[in-house]
């Protein structure tokens, strides 16, 4: 099969793990000690009002008036008003930090206070939102339930799908990669000081659906190549070849998807529209992470797991084999004569391949059962396998 790239992803896997864990650790530390996570009023309840005004006012002039008009504590954010054609137009965002919705009346008082104090500055409510705390909590639980439901459905789909292509172990690794991506998305929100809101839930759900897709495509290739490349190839070799063959597709798809969401991000950055930035930026990082985690996390982890479990199996088989060999010597059947038995005991590599083939057989028989140790003669099985492979 045509293969443009020849990168040994499996060998370099430790570097990838280190990068991922490193980023997560640094973000976690920053998150704990420097940049606390902000939760939007959609979940906590509260009120945010954005005013636009023209002309020059100092920040203190504004904060004093607003704070004078209400008993709540207000936190202020100042910005330029790019939406206005007037170049001297500004925005101020008032967040009433009490975790309860303020009434329309209270909000009106602040608006009136601005109008009274600075009649020439044309204060206008551009955006306001106010959420009752209990409603926010409700919405939060609804979102959590949705994410859990989505996760269950996706994992269910992965389970069904992976029965065929890599067994349960591959499915588990795909889910680990998924969790990796979600953590990254969370840290994007935390590190850029964007508050967790409905955008966050939308991005999390989107990544849940998108990320597992790449992983499935690669495992599908692994299954295909396992047959093509023959028993001599190790798990690592097969996996590497599969990743490299899929790489063009993975990159191209990621590029087009990124181009789409990237243009949204760039434009929203130029236009400075917060609500779109906090959607596009984490989405973009999540897409990259989804692509990266399939290649650099899910598959290498699976190879490690596979090698580890094969080793264990090998030891069990060795014990059985010695018992079987005694039996066989007595029976001296035709089949065992034809078989080459010598190298089985000696080399680890051969044993690895042997057990791999075995797994394929058992998977064909009953996909949902994990690899079973049967009492049948392993060599006999091996030969059967080879027979069927020749067909």
């Amino acid at each position: 099969m045509r293969q443009k790239f020849h990168i040994d992803f499996i060998k370099k896997s430790k570097i990838f793990f280190a990068i991922s864990l490193g980023i997560m650790f640094v973000c976690l530390m920053l998150n704990i000690f420097l940049i606390p996570t902000r939760v939007d009023i959609q979940f906590t309840g509260g009120t945010i009002v954005k005013y636009s005004y023209s002309g020059d006012l100092t920040e203190k002039q504004i904060t004093d008036v607003a704070q004078g008009a209400t008993k709540d504590t207000i936190s202020f954010t100042f910005a330029e008003n790019l939406a206005s054609s007037d170049s001297n137009s500004h925005m101020v965002s008032l967040e009433f930090t009490n975790a309860k919705a303020i009434t329309v009346d209270e909000q009106d008082e602040v608006t009136k206070a601005f109008a009274d104090a600075y009649p020439d500055n044309n204060f206008k409510v551009e955006e306001s939102s106010s959420v009752d705390a209990s409603k926010g909590a409700n919405f939060f639980f609804k979102c959590i339930a949705a994410v859990i439901l989505a996760a269950v459905l996706i994992i269910g789909y992965v389970a069904i799908r992976f029965k065929k292509i890599g067994g349960m172990s591959a499915g588990v690794m795909a889910v680990i990669a998924l969790i990796h991506d979600l953590i990254i998305v969370y840290f994007v929100f935390a590190m850029f000081n964007m508050s967790l809101d409905d955008n966050f839930i939308a991005v999390v759900l989107m990544i849940l659906g998108y990320s597992v897709n790449d992983t499935i495509v690669i495992y599908d290739r692994i299954r295909e190549n396992r047959k093509k490349m023959g028993p001599k190839a190790t798990t690592a070799e097969v996996s590497n070849a599969s990743i490299n063959q899929c790489l063009t597709r993975t990159i191209c798809t990621t590029v087009t998807t990124m181009a789409a969401i990237g243009s949204v991000l760039v434009v929203s950055l130029i236009y400075n529209i917060d609500s779109i930035i906090s959607f596009a930026l984490p989405m973009m990082v999540g897409l990259v992470s989804g692509c990266y985690s399939s290649i650099c996390i899910a598959v290498p982890l699976w190879v490690m797991w596979k090698n580890h479990s094969d080793k264990k199996k090998l030891e069990k088989e060795k014990a059985k084999k010695s018992a079987a060999a005694e039996k066989k010597a007595e029976k001296n059947t035709k089949k065992s004569e034809q078989k080459k038995t010598a190298d089985v005991k000696s080399e680890k590599k051969t044993a690895e391949k042997l057990s791999l083939k075995k797994e394929e057989v058992s998977e064909e028989k009953s996909a949902d059962e994990p690899v079973k140790e049967t009492d049948a003669d392993p060599e006999e099985k091996d030969s059967q396998e080879e027979d069927s492979a020749e067909e």
Partner: protein, 454 residues
Amino acid sequence: MKRVGKWVFFVVFILILFLTYTSVFGIYGENGDYKITYIKGIEDIRWGIDIKGGVEAVFAPADGVDANDEQMNAVKSIIDLRLVNQNVTDYELYPDFSNDRITVRFPWKSDEENYDPGEAIKELASTAQMVFRGGSNQDGEELLTGKDVKRAYVSTIETSNGNHSIVVNLEFTDEGKTKFSEATKKYLNQTISIWMDDTCISAPTVNSEITDGSCYIEGGSGDGGFTAEDATALANKINAGALPFNLKIESYGTISPSLGTYALTAMGIASVAALCFIFLFMIIMYRLPGFVAFIALLGQLSVSIMAVSGYFSVFASFTMTIPGIAGMILSIGMGVDANIITAERIKDELWTGKTLDGCIAKGTKSSLSAIIDGNITIIIVAVILILVFGPANIFSSLFGVSTTGLIYAFGYTLLVGVIANFIMGVFASRLMLRSVSGLKFLRNRRLYGGKKKS
């Protein structure tokens, strides 16, 4: 491989161009000064409040009162009535009966310079003032108030000529019973009008003195009397006036029209930029299949836009928001995945040295499962997004309606995008590719990413 006629490509191509043009620009006719819409274009899309500016509010009974369905309908009808009185016609109203919530969304009236959305919300939530007055004028004597009415409901009675007619029954409280019997005595054969806030909702004539604390209102003087709808509406309104609880504003949000228009411009630029980039990328990477992919992509986009605007003037437009547009752009980016997978497979096959037709057949066949894989998970997610952020549905009966409905459109466009992708990116583009490969001058293997034929 089954041959596909050469003409197929041109038919599909022209069809897609037609769909793209009409879904974007629409088809309009003129009838004097009156504009007739045959096909709806982008400008007929109903924009959400985050784009054209507007108000969103969620109302609930105050003090944790548990309202029954009848009372919730009453709340709904009073809000309906008040919105119409405020001259707001393009509103959305979602009652949630299981949680006793009502979500209202309506656009900010941009022509009003000093429109105060806060005031509008307050007005919607204020306690309904229902008064029964003598005569048909608002300055008539005040006879009864909402407090005196127990409930109103719809039923049918048999009229003197044997027909059935729909009526609105009223039941009064004990106090109301006395007041009403006095009133009907005084205004016998005259009109008693029922006023909600400043609107007269009914002005029946008293036919007899009513002393038992219940009466019914017969529909107007016309032949049919009330229609079932009219009767229900009136009963709801009267119930609203008799509501035993106040409404509280649970959450509200406003966005000014200027911010929204600004955001829409930005998203427009973003979608054009994304399309251009993907076009160049696909042509450079995949040549002929890339070009076909882009045509299919245009088709996908137009199907998505059609699903939002309604396309034919009989279908209502979906309410489109900024995240909805983002979803559309995102599904463009993801949509070409189907073409990329197929084109890659075809390239792979070409490398093995098979015939061009064989390669295309094999490539399209072997890529289908991967394409389906990619889309199923997106469908799962899109459906859940619709459930979480959408108006009242199964999910919201458990957890209440959402504080914001903006993301709803994201789920919708994502789902529509996937379906459109199957129609265009998978089906139509395969058809086109097979057809176009039958054209002699396009049979060069290099056009498909293969080596020059040796």
